[in-house]
């Protein structure tokens, strides 16, 4: 699952900027960070380490995408 959840976000956007693979974005309505592109998470934990309020939970697992013959 890689990056799993963001709970208690204060909307500072630090995790969004520090993610090397652009996984996290700001929800325009709630003004809080959301996991928008989880498939691109490389499980490096930079978002979690930079988060000032310890809001991010990460799992070491990553499900390998289903292989299809064209897509």
């Amino acid at each position: 699952m890689s990056i799993q959840s963001i709970n208690g976000c204060i909307g500072c956007e630090t995790c969004i900027k520090m993610c090397p693979t652009d996984v996290i974005r700001l929800d325009p309505k709630t003004k809080k960070a959301v996991i928008k592109y989880p498939a691109d998470c490389q499980i490096c934990h930079l978002c979690r380490m930079y988060c000032p309020v310890d809001a991010i939970t990460i799992s070491p697992e990553k499900s390998i995408p289903v292989i299809v013959s064209w897509g």
């Binding site: 520090m18 993610c19 090397p20 693979t21 691109d40 490096c44 990553k62």
Partner: protein
């Protein structure tokens, strides 16, 4: 080409008709293929895409260790600098994860500078450029002193310390901008172009000189934190005619067998450590020897010299000079639990425990893969275009890992060297006009994946490329028949799928361009590997297992020919591209 352009003209309506219309769609859905694999559900308004023009004497592309020093030192040399990065300062590429930095301090070692260079050169079996080896060692302590002043050693996270000297100098920084094109006018550099992932905006940069600090790249592999590195710099420089090198060498770092995709776990907590210094300790760390043992014996395998850990030794395989044989596996951080772990710094992941291969697949040895330098100033074959760090094929340590921590130090040193050269070059040259026609053509190329109604998702093409390139028997343990077989697949992706990559938003647009770069890089890697009919350092051929000093005391340069095809040439180990001898 006719077939290709014909396919590109297929509209969504025609496509659905071809697929059997709604019946076809329903059938696909029942097979478990989600509709998102098929339709390009555009999430942005193409009519709103804007463009912005920027200007700088020296444009630095990349915000890692090389980019930091390139920007700071070019500013200090009097140039008007701008730094643009695909990610954020100190938090993209490999820099955030590099915790050991080498400093050559003559007061702390009994190895002289010349002896250091000689030892590295012996380990690299001729593949290093000793001018860059010496330059790294000579300047490393000064760069480490700069870093210490900026607070680099005070935190495991580098964004603050990287921002300090940039903010003090008011250097403009543009982050989360993916650069896709370099622009050349009148046979010299004129600028660059790319797009923002946050805004629907294309950016043009008019620049007197450009320093590529875009790092290395890979195939978005599992286990190494390089999924944002796709050889962008190499490919955009190749596209404007620059020579690139180093594509046959391989970084052989393994990953852990459990949760192989988790970079953080694979590096054993190192990411949370503050950086530290490394001292003179010269090795010949192959990596590919492990791939050879896995190929011959299968899994599970234990690392180390034959006989260690009761492992059945393999005869033959990659050659390691006797002088550099190891008593224990390389990497200091995979020690069994209970043994003391260092509190700061350290080597990349160790090679002990149960491992799987390919964690850094698609990446060469640090500093061996990238633009060909024409001198010791990090200058490329295109006037005004410089590269530093992993974007420069400087062969600072050769085609093998010789010194832990030298890679990060080398990026800092080369960033500063390139900066001074680029600032000096920019003093005596005028900005060039980039014509509207050129800008329109580039904008068209950048946005093309957003405009396709149908095509292939970058995620799927990337996954297909990984299936072709990552297996052990393709890029690590090589033989001509398999390299040619893989090349046939990659050429199919290049000719048929690359022109049909689609994107629904700016994030996917970045993925589409990254995928294109990976396809071209895969082609370079396979063709260079076929060409090098010998085994040396991190390049191992089962069908040519021996070193061939008669024919292969040479690097391979790659460039785009006048007919747009990929061309290859040899450059002797002891010379610069113009044929002049390399003199230390």
């Amino acid at each position: 080409m006719t077939i290709q352009s014909g396919i590109n003209k297929i509209t969504r309506r025609n496509f659905l008709a071809l697929a059997g219309g709604t019946v076809g769609m329903a059938a696909l859905a029942s097979m478990g293929v989600p509709a998102s694999f098929i339709e390009n559900n555009l999430e942005i308004d193409l009519d709103k895409i804007d463009h912005q023009e920027n200007e700088a004497d020296v444009l630095v592309i990349g915000g890692g260790m090389a980019g930091l020093f390139a920007a700071v030192k070019a500013h200090d040399a009097g140039a008007k600098v701008m730094l643009v990065s695909k990610g954020s300062l100190g938090s993209s590429g490999q820099t955030p994860f590099a915790k050991g930095i080498f400093a050559y301090d003559k007061d702390l070692t009994n190895v002289s500078l010349d002896e250091f260079v000689d030892q590295v050169s012996r380990s690299a079996i001729g593949t290093n450029n000793p001018v860059y080896t010496k330059q790294m060692a000579e300047h490393s302590l000064a760069r480490v002193t700069d870093l210490r002043e900026w607070g680099f050693f005070d935190s495991p996270l580098y964004n603050n310390s990287f921002n300090k000297p940039i903010k003090e100098r008011n250097i403009p920084v543009m982050e989360r901008i993916t650069i896709t094109h370099l622009i050349k006018e009148n046979d010299r550099i004129a600028g660059a172009a790319g797009f923002s992932v946050d805004e629907e905006k294309v950016h043009f940069f008019n620049a007197k000189s450009v320093i590529l600090c875009t790092g290395a790249g890979g195939f978005k592999p599992n286990g190494f934190p390089i999924c944002d590195l796709t050889h962008d710099g190499t490919v955009m420089a190749y596209n404007i005619g620059a020579k690139v090198t180093g594509k046959e060498w391989n970084d052989g770092h393994p990953g852990q067998s459990i949760n192989a995709a988790s970079c953080f776990d694979g590096w054993h907590g190192m990411f949370e450590r503050k950086p530290g210094l490394t001292s003179v300790e010269i090795h010949h760390d192959l990596g590919v020897d492990m791939n050879y043992m896995a190929y011959m014996n299968g899994n599970p395998l234990q690392m180390g010299p034959p006989g260690m850990n009761n492992q059945k030794g393999s005869t033959g395989g990659p050659y390691r000079p006797e002088e550099f044989s190891r008593k224990e596996p390389p990497g200091g951080d995979n020690k069994p639990p209970g043994r003391e772990q260092p509190k700061e710094g350290g080597a990349p992941p160790g090679m002990g425990g149960t491992v799987v291969g390919g964690s850094s697949a698609g990446m060469s040895i640090h500093k061996s893969e990238g633009l060909v330098p024409i001198n010791d100033k990090c200058e490329s074959t295109i006037p005004g275009l410089y590269a530093a760090g992993d974007a420069l094929g400087s062969y600072m340590a050769g085609a093998i890992y010789t010194q832990i921590g030298s890679s990060l130090a080398g990026s800092a040193v080369q960033g500063a060297v390139a900066a001074e050269a680029a600032a000096k070059y920019s003093k005596y040259i005028e900005f060039q006009n980039i014509s509207k026609n050129v800008m329109n053509k580039i904008e068209e190329e950048i946005l093309a994946p957003l405009k396709r109604d149908a095509g292939y998702s970058p995620a799927w093409v990337t996954q297909t490329l990984q299936g072709i390139m990552i297996p052990n028997f393709v890029l690590y343990i090589k033989k001509e028949s398999m390299l040619k077989a893989a090349l046939a697949y990659i050429e199919e992706l290049r000719d048929h799928h690359m022109p049909m990559l689609k994107a629904a938003d700016m994030h996917e647009l970045r993925l589409a361009h990254e995928t294109r770069n990976m396809i071209l890089s895969a082609e370079m890697k396979l063709k260079a590997s076929i060409m090098r009919t010998e085994s040396r350092c991190s390049h191992y051929r089962l069908d040519y297992p021996d070193m061939d000093n008669e024919n292969w005391q040479a690097w391979i340069n790659i460039y785009k020919g006048s007919d747009e095809t990929m061309q290859f040439e040899k450059q002797p180990f002891d010379s610069w591209p113009n044929g002049k001898r390399i003199i230390v």
